[in-house]
């Protein structure tokens, strides 16, 4: 546990000093929301129907950029190779990076939900708390696969282009289930609808995290 905390700590301290990732991710997400609010703002009904999609479009594009940069930091001065020299298992190294990436995506989601409520004049009220479930679980799946593919593409010249091309199709099941959960919350449907999608999403998350732990070693050693 101490090792995991130390691995997450190094990413958070670096980010706290530069605020490079959170700032750039938040700005990209905000700009995407502004464009979408300008496009859909005249039709409140359309905006309401598209709300789950609007949230995930902003989150997924901004988070993909952030993940690419987060892994680029591992390549600078070959810092990741310094970690690979330690006796820590590759799975634990993965969990450390995943944990840090997940926190970044969760922070981004908070920014996106707040900006969405303001720009679209959406009174989320008590529903904001319920939104945390599908968005949070979606973030877990997104960060799990993003961490694995980020490590895979970070050493390539086209990493900023390659990561979204690989990540978005793979992570689609998590996004779709998250979208279903968000729609259930925003439409005020029965709790059972939310729980059903959340259960399936949690199962997908577990598969993604286990896959990441298993494959990370091959990705970074090849």
């Amino acid at each position: 546990m101490r090792i995991l905390a130390a691995l997450i700590w190094k990413d958070l301290v670096t980010e706290a000093r530069t605020r490079e990732l959170v700032t750039s991710m938040s700005l990209v997400a905000f700009l995407a929301l502004v464009i979408l609010s300008l496009a859909l703002g005249a039709s409140p009904g359309l905006a309401a129907a598209a709300a789950p999609g609007i949230l995930w479009v902003a989150v997924s594009f901004a988070a993909t950029l952030g993940l690419a940069r987060s892994h680029a930091l591992e390549q600078e001065r070959q810092a990741l190779q310094g970690l690979l020299l330690t006796p820590v298992s590759r799975s634990l190294l993965y969990l450390g990076k995943f944990g840090a990436n997940l926190l970044l995506v969760l922070i981004l989601e908070c920014v996106v939900v707040a900006a969405f409520a303001v720009l679209f004049g959406y009174d989320l009220g008590r529903r904001a708390a319920w939104l945390a479930l599908p968005l949070g679980l979606g973030a877990v799946g997104f960060a799990a696969i993003g961490t694995l593919l980020g490590a895979m593409t970070s050493a390539t010249r086209l990493r900023e282009v390659l990561l979204p091309i690989l990540l978005l199709p793979v992570v689609l099941p998590a996004i779709m289930l998250s979208l279903a959960g968000i729609a259930a919350v925003l439409d005020g449907r029965a709790l059972a609808d939310l729980v059903r999608s959340a259960n399936m999403l949690a199962a997908v998350d577990v598969i993604f995290v286990v896959l990441g732990m298993w494959l990370y070693g091959y990705v970074v050693e090849e």
Partner: protein, 239 residues
Amino acid sequence: MDPAGAAVHAEGLWKGFGRRRVLRGLGLVVAPGQALAILGPNGSGKSTLLRVLAAILRPAEGRVRIYGEDPFRVPGARRDIGFVTHEPMLYGGLSVLENLRLLAVLYGLADGWARAEEMCDRLRIARRAEPIRGLSRGIQQRAALARALLHRPRVLFLDEAFTGLDPEGVDDLARILRGFCRDGGALILTTHSPAEALGAAGRAAVLVGGRLGPARGLDGMQVDAVRAWYLDAAAGAMG
């Protein structure tokens, strides 16, 4: 030499990237207390070889043993490995001390914080509390050496480690390496400088085209003789 008693034992190492074969069935043995210099031109596979030996890159074929254990299968065997390259392998946003303390936790050192300070003192690292990315190349290289020695490894791999060091730093590194071997540590360094090989190692071998030639002793040789032998061996290997 009996492989079981070797500090580093590698055999049949093959490694490629895409269609390019970088290591071609290479093997070597280094005993505790020995230093082996691997000389080779640019692109001969020196860095790849050290990365495979240090368990950073997985070989396509062949095996590596560090004191009899496979560092890919037994993560604990990596405690015996220290590795210095021309890059510090440290996080630019963290200070030297923060990097060393992080690694001390990952290596499970009980005296990690004190050890981090000790290494900074020993290597005379100035501005140890400032982020790495703002430090000069020479201080970054000293920090890299501190990282490699932090956990008291028994095997040290050096990939062009003298690059970027000032004359004082070169002397410090040479002194540390001599002490390391005297205390029973095994050392493998890569270089294309016969002078560096002669200053740091008792034996040398030439790596060309992913194949390692036979090692020979350097005792009593002068730099010019080492250079002539290296050029002959390299030309012979290239056919």
